[in-house]
Symmetry: C2
């Protein structure tokens, strides 16, 4: 159906907003990936205890959001991309994977990435429901950790689903990238 | 043409990747917006001088990328969204605009946002050419600054187009959002 939905018809018959809705209904998982020299995430303390921090060194901060058709397959695809994507710089300036630089990964749940602008406000109707989203987030963290530990000395750290993510980062060029599956 | 390109046909006749290509060819400007308590961007020093820093306090870090059909109209739309979008929290936790909290804005050029994953690498074929991109970036900074100065005591700071953006941020929940026009 690509021919019935090509660029020209997209411009004349379908507005950018409509097309955006169509593609968003096809997207099941969305990542924003930023390179970092270090990052620190403050986690809410359990049972009234003091907040904890999870810290990483050189590597990537990965913000993740699952949309409403997300499944185990989405987790598998995202895991593969996080492990393999060549966004890190090695000492000679070449773009390599996070494993190649033995870098750390901080995976932060970020439901706001599923937002869609309507007027002046963002709406989040396309996000996965909270229970499934939390399960998929834990599966993603587990999958990435297992894959990294098998081949790299890098650390994989995670946030807390549904909590406010208080983050400090230090970058050497954030190189912000969006990846959708 | 929306009926010829609906969700069902999108799923069966058009792959997610093809749809992604279609929608990306309709996107002219892309923002990633993150709330911050403070942010500091190190700029390369001119003529071998020491690097300079631009700093902002509470407000938003806005990463921007122009794609290959971007124009003055794109700049106008993005300017309007940056000024009006209700992503900032006021003291009562309500989402309001950056003007409502008299917040600062740091606008960072980020060509990597135009990247499209192919295999394990990102490709940037859809980005605007560098000369036009730089001109549009300056227009955006100027437009946002003029609009903010008219109604708010907030500061608007900018990066350097084409330079490596070395950034430190401190957030109280980064609330990462993507906005496309």
């Amino acid at each position: 159906m690509l021919t019935a939905c090509n660029k020209e018809e997209g411009t004349s018959g379908t507005t950018g907003r409509e097309l955006q809705h169509i593609i968003m209904s096809e997207v099941m998982g969305r990542l924003v990936i930023q390179q970092c020299l270090s990052a620190s995430l403050k986690l809410p303390g359990a049972d009234g205890k003091d907040p904890e921090h999870v810290d990483i060194g050189r590597g990537m901060v990965v913000f993740v959001c699952f949309l409403d058709k997300a499944s185990e397959e989405t987790v598998e695809k995202l895991t593969k991309h996080i492990i393999n994507i060549r966004l890190c710089e090695d000492d000679s300036g070449r773009r390599v994977s996070i494993c190649d630089i033995q870098g750390d990964i901080l995976i932060i749940p970020q439901a706001t990435l599923g937002g869609k602008l309507k007027g002046k406000a963002m709406q989040y109707h396309m996000n996965v429901d909270k229970t499934l989203g939390e399960a998929l987030y834990h599966r993603l963290c587990q999958g990435v950790r297992t894959a990294i530990e098998a081949v790299s000395s890098g650390n994989v750290k995670c946030g807390v689903y549904g909590a406010r993510q208080i983050l400090s980062t230090d970058t050497n060029g954030p190189y912000t990238h969006i990846v959708e599956v």
